[in-house]
């Protein structure tokens, strides 16, 4: 052993990192609001805010409605989606002690998609998306709890990932079959369920989806200390007094809600839940009381930024946001894993 890992790269204290991530999220959200087909400047943004708060009685501008009805719900949805997926990834990686545990890779996002479609089928035409979000959350939690049973039966962590991949591919195939066969305008396209997209963001979906995501995040955040203890291993965590089965059930239901809300809002977006915890753990260390809020902010910032790219980079064509998260996320993931591999060899 020659001077290996002394602590993560603590370039920032956790509090500094959280402050920086908050500023970054706000800045990227601002950039998202100001970019797009309709030219909007900071003064237009101030004007819209002023009118909404009743501070100014100026005449309404065209940009007001673009900002209010289209861009703001979309940016907020992006933040909620990114926060939900990244916190879910952090929770799954901590629970299963596996850096590959990600809502997409272990089948939870595709299951949530299937649940969402079931919820849509049960919703009367013109109804609120409550059943869709709940369906997604229930199916997501179900898949997470199923994977917990798998984790208890397999010895090797790569078997766990393989089972998750198989589950995910099967769910995705069912989802594709149902969506294509049903062929209803009420159901988002198959592309949405595979690669995601925030183009359909409205206040109506946000009003249901964001609370679902937030409750999920809160359940995970409330289990931060338990997630730390689980790093010892499940058996050891029980020996220091943790009621392991109960806390893992709570965590995984939280994961189901966070992923379900995220998938309901933005479809299946990969790599956020995989990469955000990996990068942030490196920056601020493994303690979940910091890692969970950092994941929420960092994941939110990442999806807001990438969604801005998705709708501007090939304008007027919009690229599905999940394609860009994969294009950008995969190299980061590979780079981090190789760096980690080097330090352990």
């Amino acid at each position: 052993m020659t001077g290996l890992a002394i602590e993560p790269d603590r370039r920032f204290s956790p509090a500094t990192a959280l402050a920086g991530l908050s500023v970054g999220l706000l800045a990227l959200a601002m950039a998202g609001l100001l970019s797009g087909a309709v030219a909007i400047g900071p003064s237009d943004l101030l004007h819209m805010i002023g009118r909404r708060l009743g501070l100014t009685s100026d005449a309404e501008r065209l940009t007001d409605s673009v900002l209010w009805a289209i861009r703001l719900p979309r940016v907020l949805s992006g933040a909620a989606v990114g926060a939900g997926l990244a916190v879910a990834g952090t929770a799954l990686q901590g629970t299963f002690r596996n850096q590959m545990a990600d809502p997409s890779l272990v089948g939870i996002s595709p299951a949530a998609g299937l649940g969402a479609v079931a919820g849509i089928a049960l919703t009367p035409a013109g109804g609120t998306p409550i059943l869709m979000m709940l369906g997604a959350a229930i199916a997501g939690a179900g898949a997470a709890l199923f994977m917990r049973r798998i984790a208890g039966r397999v010895i090797e962590s790569n078997q766990f990932i393989l089972v998750g991949l198989a589950l995910g591919l099967a769910m995705l195939a069912w989802l594709g079959t149902i969506v294509l066969a049903w062929d209803s305008p009420r159901v988002p396209t198959f592309t949405f369920w595979v690669f995601g997209g925030l183009a359909g963001s409205t206040w109506k979906t946000l009003a249901v989806g964001a609370p679902v995501v937030l409750v999920g995040i809160a359940m995970v955040a409330g289990s931060a200390r338990s997630l730390d203890l689980l790093a010892l291993g499940e058996v050891e965590a029980r020996h220091v007094g943790l009621d392991v089965d109960r806390v893992i059930t709570v965590i995984l239901i939280g994961v189901g809600l966070a992923v379900g809300g995220a998938v309901g809002l933005g479809g299946a977006i990969g790599f956020v839940g995989l990469v955000a915890p990996l990068v942030l753990r490196r920056w601020i260390g493994p303690a979940h009381r910091w890692l969970i809020p950092a994941s929420a902010l960092g994941g939110g910032a990442a999806v807001v930024a990438i969604d801005t790219l998705a709708r501007t980079v090939a304008s007027p064509v919009e690229i599905p946001v999940g394609l860009l998260t994969a294009i950008l996320g995969a190299p980061v993931f590979i780079w981090f894993l190789m760096r980690a591999g080097r330090s352990y060899s």
Binding site: G233, V240, G241, Y344
Partner: protein, 263 residues
Amino acid sequence: MTTAVRAEEITYRRGSAVLVDGVSLATEPGKIVGIVGPNGAGKTTLLRILAGDLIPTSGQARVQELDPSRATPIELARVRSYLSPRGVSENPFAVRDTVAMGRHPHRRAMIDADQHDAIVDSAMERTDVLHLGRRIMSSLSSGEQQRVGLARVIAQGTPVILLDEPTSSLDIGHQETVMRALRSLADDGTTIVVVLHDINLAAAHSDRIMLLSAGQAAATGTPSEVLTSERLSSVYRQPMRVVDHPHRACPLVLTVDHNAAID
């Protein structure tokens, strides 16, 4: 006599296999009990029953008058700690944070952070890992990880400590360091039940030894009562000679050639 750890006629079956077969044990506080025996004799199973991980098929266990199969995790964590024989851990936390996790069952106790810190430091000092405090667990050697695990168990501060092969990855110097640490804990009233593969380590440091063979207690008593040439040769199916340790008041077990006659 008060007993810290008690096992009464414990039997544990899995399928048709009887892993532990009617084993009884009673330990007064402040003693070190060594459990030895060949592979598959039921040592780990017995320890896991005492720890509350496994529920015996019949018979009952008591740890500080608590039934491990009925107590909640937190109740158990306040009376017994347990070190499992694990390989290399993927734990991303630093050494000191890992040891401090042993304080979890007492986080609501009426003592201040300084006292928790002092307990953690003293546990780390006992197993010689104080200098590793800021290192990441997964970067340590298996022997270092084992000593950190032991420090965590000591930091838990329980009246009973259960250890499954705590010295399996340790060099001979650290084996003695660890056994000395256990003795000083026992002198302060802690009861220690420790599974050991190394019979001589058990002989030198245990107050009592239980020799398990095929799930049954072949003998229980002081090291010199239990460790006899004939008994060990028959239990391990390997000729052995037991002599007096020239520098310690304990038996010394030697293996001899298969065709050597037994005195």
